[in-house]
Amino acid sequence: MKLFDKYNRVNIGVTIVIMLVTGIVYYYTISHILTGQIDKDLVLEENEVFSYVSKNHRLPDVYESNHQQIVFAPIGQQSDQRRFLDTVYRDYDEKKIEAARALISSVKVSGQNYRITVTQSKVETEDLIQIIFLITIGVIVALLAILIILNRVILKSIWKPFYKVLFQLKEFSLASNPIVSSTLSTIDEFTELDQAVISMADRVKSDYQNLKGFTENASHELMTPISIINSKLDILVQTDEFTDKQSKLLNDIYSTVTRLTRLNKSMLLLAKIENGLIKDIHDVDIKEVLEECLYQHEEMLQQLDIILSTDLHNKKIHANKSLIEILLNNLLSNSIRHNYHNGQLSVILDAQKLTITNTGEGSFNFDQMLKRFHKSDGSEGIGLGLTLCKQICDKYGFKLGYKLDDKMHTFSVIF
């Protein structure tokens, strides 16, 4: 539930209850005052009767005025207690029964007791109360409406900065580079929130940058010692005759250094892609790059007697050529390395996508493979190949897909 709604619900509920209670109290108070007024009128009539009787020693003529009635009834020697009561008034002309107030009293005329009943209709009083009540209700409704509208309008405009901050938080991402801009507000809490969010975003970003920078710098710094080792090895093999044992050791060192170099280069490349440092963008002819990649892999294809089928159409994209080469080389290398003897490989390129389908044993979890340093069992790679592919695809907005269908592994890049 939104804060507005919650607040409005409580606010309106309480207002209604208070208004109702006020209305009821109001009703009874007015009703009480008006009844008192009628009672006074009734006493006035009674006094008139008494004064008439004491002057003329007989009952006055019964007359009936508008909404008022006096009735005498002989009650013998017994006396009747004087009292007010609520009763009904029968209007004979209009044949209506109206709420009324009556005063019962008694008077002695020529030794005979008579009961006097003075009845006055309360219809006018009721009308008055009704009008007052309606006005009150009207005021309540108007007040509520105004309250709701005011809440809506004012709260909405007051909370605007909050929603802006919230929107920025939702859009916040470390990878892309959106700027968390400050949101102006006259409300201290929101200003504070805004500042807290900005400083948090800055801190998170700078931490992330440091971390990324560290990977990049570390890989970078490693390049110099690696290149020294590499060059020293190149010099070492020139020096002398080597025994089989020594040359085997040297071979191992060579391949390890090569692997270290590749690993380091991949990490550096990943860091660079993530840091958005890869520029040098040209029109790249994918078909041309793909044909070159296939040429580079020809020996591997021949060795495994893989049946290659290609269907390549022209496709140009705007990208960095080295990255596209890495992407295609990695995908092709995988499709050959995990293939089997006499297997198949099909490469299809059209304007929408590139599909590489190969035969291969086993299956693997594609999402797991996208993680860094995750290798399938028995793989000799460094575990960054697919991670790089994914990063490159993400960078250019391509979609990297994989599906396994009866030993046919299909990787697709949707441009």
Binding site: I226, S231, V237
Partner: protein, 225 residues
């Protein structure tokens, strides 16, 4: 050929010097920007092997200096910064090639040789090695006026060997030269052997000497000795 090696890492500088010295090459070295600038101001070189991150200055300024003074020395930039911007700036300024660290010395030698060859032949594109004649423009190999057909990789490998004649070239270096560094090299060692076998066969069948020797299982050596 006369080479200037500008590199502040002693280990790497010494290795490059050791690899290039001998044969028909003379090497000089500089370990910082100031001494490099002093050398290129006074002496001319066939090729300057130039590191970009130097003490007291940026290697790119040396390229600028050379071009500003109309010196036609070849320049090969070596840098650990695989920054494409640097590469482009370097090549735009007039450097001939760019090699990213780490590299194999044989690769460096082959690139430097290519630069020097381009500059010294002045239009002539025939490379002669004893009885082998290579037309670098047409990319054809002739032996005693007989054209020998080489595949692209074999041709590239032959040039690589000639540039590194007398040196043991490791399999890693050959693989990297042939397949680049975006393909896993360990997979390709077996294929080197078959390429070399083909080159030797084609050369010998056309009447050339067998110049390629296997070197203790680590690599190969192209030698006319």
């Amino acid at each position: 050929m006369k080479i200037l090696i500008v590199e502040d890492e002693t280990g790497l500088r010494d290795s490059i010097e050791a690899y290039f010295t001998g044969g028909d090459s003379i090497c000089e070295t500089a370990n910082d920007f100031t001494s490099a600038l002093k050398k290129v101001s006074v002496y001319r070189y066939d090729c300057v092997i130039l590191d970009l991150t130097l003490p007291y200055g940026n290697g790119l300024d040396i390229v600028k200096h050379l071009k500003a003074n109309g010196h036609n020395d070849g320049v090969l930039i070596i840098s650990a910064k695989n920054s494409l911007d640097d590469r482009l700036t370097g090549l735009d300024l007039g450097a001939d090639d760019y090699l990213t660290k780490p590299f194999h010395l044989s690769e460096l030698k082959s690139r430097v040789t290519a630069i020097v060859r381009r500059r010294s032949f002045n239009g002539s594109s025939i490379l002669k090695f004893n009885e082998i004649n290579i037309d670098l423009d047409a990319k054809t190999v002739k032996l005693n006026d007989l054209v020998v057909k080489f595949t692209r990789k074999e041709y590239s490998l032959l040039l690589y060997f000639i540039a590194n004649k007398g040196k043991v070239v490791s399999k890693s270096a050959i693989a990297e030269h042939l397949w680049g560094d975006s393909i896993d090299i360990a997979d390709n060692f077996d294929f080197i052997y078959s390429h070399i076998k083909n080159i030797r066969k084609k050369l010998v069948e056309a009447g050339a000497n067998d110049y390629i020797q296997a070197a203790y299982g680590m690599g190969y050596k192209f030698t006319d000795a």
